[in-house]
Symmetry: C2
Subunit: 298 residues, 2 copies
């Protein structure tokens, strides 16, 4: 039996150590921009995307160590997106994981630049000379392609744009809300799983299955986020519970009601686990993470 | 004899067509985010960085057509940096090339996201499947590495960070001003020249010479910018002349006086041209561009 808690702890430790090492080797590690990058990046998040990347790599028989640069790049992109989303011009959030957001701890200009720098550092990490010894250049380019498409205007950025527009327009249809989440959080989660599997040299069929897996957990993650926002403990969530309702934001609970939203989340997770039926025990972490996604923080 | 005007016109036309094509193939080319990206990208800039990239590729005997994705990526990164630099939290500029800046034409959130999207699209462009037919994957990774290092916290972003801090601190030493410009504009100009030469498979010696060339023109470009800001025609410059003085910004003319600043710019250009002495006629565009840099807009 897999002990997910231990598995996550172990992976997070490795990811944090790698991220720390990358920033530690900056030409001026105490420069203001590096301080702001470190502040945002080393803030004790769940590291869901990098863990998924490593677990997906292992699920197809790959060596998770080789996937570590990909895992780090994904977390940098996630951290950059949070910094920019929190800005006054965007969601205007003051708290993130129980701490002042980057633009509060520093200032708006530094936060914008720290986000830009983390996004750029992700691609620096994915193209450095040393990582090419163990994995062929062609694979790295495929991974850069998958990640840049998912993070950009065909994925995450378009999702955030729609989120901003939705806030002005008011209520969304369920299909619009789903599309928004598939772009805003789903695309990078899918890229995390796919890039890990690509690096582990998974077969075409395996990658198709993992795409189904990641689409389902990505959406379940967001539905759960909405549910936790209604009933979550603000201390655990690190931001005020009920903030979405206060803002009249379209959410799964607001469109479906709480019981149906929970039902949707459970169905999505069941689909995700089903999609892995041809995988052996090496996919157990992915299966356990799927269940964890809707049971977290409760 | 090379007709630089015709050369620049021809290259700009090709670059604009390529950039246009990339945005035209967006999944939703009329989406707000794509409109904002197009607005910032297709605003009739000088296209200095992509032209340098293509000219550097030709100077070592490479095929400039193969370098076009690199040229486009460099212009996307330049455009993103201008969008973010113009934001109210940064330089708070309302005009750019005689038109309202992106956050004025759209809004702050859209401008932040359009910048993010252009930066990400640069790396999507550099890793797409189709460009690998003509140039080996290993070279593309080298180019991604050179560009991401130059654009990030070891280069352009750090330069903008120092520029922001300098505005608060007041006067800089000449050496600090030089370092700031080498980071803020020099790094990406150097990356433009080097990535073009890498793609054209220039020799180690050629790339060393081209680095000297690009360092000198990068600095000359900035010195000239400062000079034009003092004596330029606001109609040609597209922004108010004298704005730097108004802001008490450290500039070459303010630290050295106008005549000495002009002398410095000329010396830098002479060094740049000297560094190409072992190159044949194929480097004539690079030589002509060097002279153009200090004679532009006058």
């Amino acid at each position: 039996m897999l002990d997910l808690k231990l598995y996550l702890l172990d992976k997070r430790k490795q990811i944090d150590a790698s991220l720390h090492r990358i920033l530690e080797t900056a030409p001026r590690p105490t420069a203001r921009i590096v301080e702001a990058m470190r502040y945002a990046l080393m803030s004790g998040g769940k590291r869901l995307r990098p863990v998924l990347c490593l677990a997906a790599c292992e699920s197809v028989g790959g060596n998770a160590e080789h996937a570590m640069p990909v895992a780090c790049a994904l977390e940098m992109i996630h951290a950059y997106s949070l910094i920019h989303d929190d800005l006054p011009a965007m969601d205007d959030d003051c708290l993130r994981r129980g701490r002042p957001t980057c633009h509060i701890a520093f200032d708006d200009a530094t936060a914008i630049l720290a986000g830009d720098a983390l996004l750029t550092l992700a691609f620096e990490t994915l193209s450095s000379r040393e990582i090419r010894k163990k994995v062929h250049a062609e694979h790295w380019l495929d991974i850069i392609s998958v990640i840049s498409v998912a993070a950009g205007y065909k994925g995450m950025v378009e999702g955030q744009m729609r989120d901003m527009l939705a806030e002005r327009q008011g209520c969304l249809l369920l299909s619009e809300l789903e599309e928004l989440h598939l772009l805003k959080t789903g695309a990078l989660i899918e890229a995390s799983v796919c890039s890990g599997a690509l690096l582990g040299q998974g077969s075409f069929d395996q990658i198709v299955s993992l795409k189904v897996y990641s689409k389902n957990i990505g959406l379940a993650f967001q539905v759960t986020d909405d549910i936790l926002n209604v009933e979550g403990d603000p201390l655990i969530m690190g931001k005020g519970a009920g903030t979405d309702q206060h803002r009249c934001k379209s959410t799964y609970p607001s469109l479906l009601g709480l019981p149906e939203a929970k039902e949707v989340a459970s169905r999505l997770i069941a689909h995700a686990i089903e999609s892995l039926e041809r995988f052996d025990h090496k996919a157990n972490p992915l299966r356990a993470i799927a269940s964890y996604i809707i049971n977290r923080n409760r």
